[in-house]
């Protein structure tokens, strides 16, 4: 079975790989077709995802281990299947679908994103405690960057924006380029191993 999956992966992967180097009409068409199949497969896997979500939460409701998690799972199941049924049978412009989207999903997503500000503050507090030389360098660079990005920083000393630009372009830029080159080679190596069948642990063996 694993051999079959490897052959399918090789047959589907090589045209997509070749199409990124050269423009051969047949190869490009085949690659585009395989990419379309990929989107269809991803669509089917969404169904598997919904089934997993339902299975996990139905089990949680049945177990009634904790009141809070039972309640959360119940609300999730009701909202999930309500939106699926309304979306499939009445379309996404139906008032119920729109109501849930505007009054539940959008505010919840916005709240999630807003919480990041607080997480950044607590992470910065932990990182800026000067415990060693690395943390001290991080603290100094962080302070310069913050001062360069607020109006009062330039009023205190006009050199903050220049120093911050040098940190970003020279120090940060050089380190980031090193990381990007290294991880690029790593990503290609992993993909090639999967494509030629040297790597099989993602198949479960």
């Amino acid at each position: 079975m694993n051999i079959l999956i490897l052959i399918v992966g090789l047959v589907a992967g090589v045209p997509v790989l070749l199409s990124s180097f050269a423009e051969i009409p047949v190869i490009t068409e085949v690659a585009q077709e395989f990419q379309r199949w990929g989107i269809i497969l991803a669509g089917f896997s969404s169904f598997l995802g919904v089934m997993n979500l339902t299975h996990v939460n139905v089990s949680a409701v049945r177990r009634k281990k904790k009141l809070a998690s039972t309640y959360d799972s119940f609300v999730l199941l009701v909202m999930l299947w309500l939106l699926i049924v309304v979306g499939v049978f009445f379309g996404q412009s139906h008032p119920i679908y729109d109501f849930v989207f505007q009054n539940a999903l959008k505010p919840l997503s916005a709240s999630g994103f807003a919480m990041l500000g607080f997480f950044i503050a607590t992470a910065a507090y932990r990182a800026f405690r000067v415990r060693n030389v690395d943390a001290a360098i991080l603290l100094v660079c962080g302070c310069i960057m913050m001062l360069a990005n607020i109006p009062i920083g330039e009023m205190i000393w006009g050199g903050f924006p220049i120093v911050s630009e040098w940190i970003m372009k020279t120090l940060n830029g050089a380190a980031m380029k090193g990381i990007v080159i290294g991880s690029g080679i790593g990503a290609i190596a992993t993909s090639v191993k999967v494509l030629i069948g040297l790597e099989r642990s993602h198949l479960g063996g």
Binding site: G49, L116, R126
Partner: protein
């Protein structure tokens, strides 16, 4: 064959890469073992599993936000490869492993990897399908789900290996609040600083891809490490020679790389 700009060079580099990989694979299979430098994060994974076993609490793992059909799929693949090893360790030491997924197509793959690892360790009875969970492909719904697992299941360790976006800090901060030992790895340059400041062990960039090799000692993995080092030296030489040549007004190498 009509190559795109820079296509010939990229194609030749890929051929070179595959040839070096196959050569190194042959050498490693014949008994060659390179010296691999120790990276604390690799020990961190074993430490995390050991700590969870001692405390009798579960471990949380997530392969991140990227799908298998994205350009950054390599990170997800590397995360899943490491998951195979982590699942084996968990099965061996009777630690419950909770896996959270954002992408539905990654869900069946992680299920299969964990199931096979438990089967191989002879602990098929300990495998629980409901512990491998899909939340949502919406970024913050997935993030909320992961934070819910970390807080609700009282995890002892949190391992995040793959591609991450803004949700990375939410996971790391939530796990830090609950006293989890944390191991993170990503090649996503915008998220590395968040992991470095919040996690106990971090695999930076290429270390994520190297993790699988060091964890498994599989010839294919070890040979890929050797290949990566050889290709890295070649690329560094090209970059250095190209930079010097361009500085002196000769654009030959730059033209070969970008336009040939």
């Amino acid at each position: 064959m009509v190559f795109k700009d820079g296509g010939r060079f990229a194609f030749l580099l890929l051929i070179f890469l595959v040839a070096v990989l196959l050569y190194c694979h042959k050498k490693v299979k014949a008994g060659f073992r390179p010296q691999i430098r120790e990276i604390p994060a690799f020990k961190g994974i074993e430490e995390a599993v050991g700590r969870a076993a001692e405390m009798g609490r579960p471990i949380h793992f997530t392969p991140g936000s990227d799908a298998f059909n994205a350009q950054t799929a390599g990170m997800t693949l590397a995360g899943v490869i490491c998951l195979a090893h982590i699942a084996s360790l968990c099965a061996r030491y009777d630690v419950r492993l909770l896996v959270s997924n954002r992408r539905p197509e990654v869900q069946p793959v992680t299920e299969e990897v964990v199931k096979q690892a438990f089967l191989t360790e002879g602990k098929s009875g300990a495998y629980r399908p409901t512990d491998i969970r899909f939340f949502s492909d919406d970024q913050f719904a997935y993030a909320s789900g992961v934070v819910g697992v970390i807080s609700g299941e009282n995890t002892a360790a949190n391992i995040m290996l793959g591609g991450f976006y803004a949700e990375s800090l939410m996971f790391a901060e939530a796990a830090a609040t609950y006293g989890n030992i944390q191991v993170a790895g990503t090649a996503s340059t915008s998220q590395i600083p968040f992991f470095v400041t919040t996690c106990d062990y971090v695999l930076i960039g290429e270390e994520l891809y190297a993790a699988a090799a060091i964890l498994s000692d599989d010839p294919a993995q070890v040979s890929s490490l050797v290949m990566q080092d050889i290709v890295r030296v070649v690329i560094i030489c090209l970059v250095t020679i190209g930079a010097v040549a361009t500085s002196f007004g000769w654009h030959g190498i730059k033209d070969i790389v970008l336009k040939w």
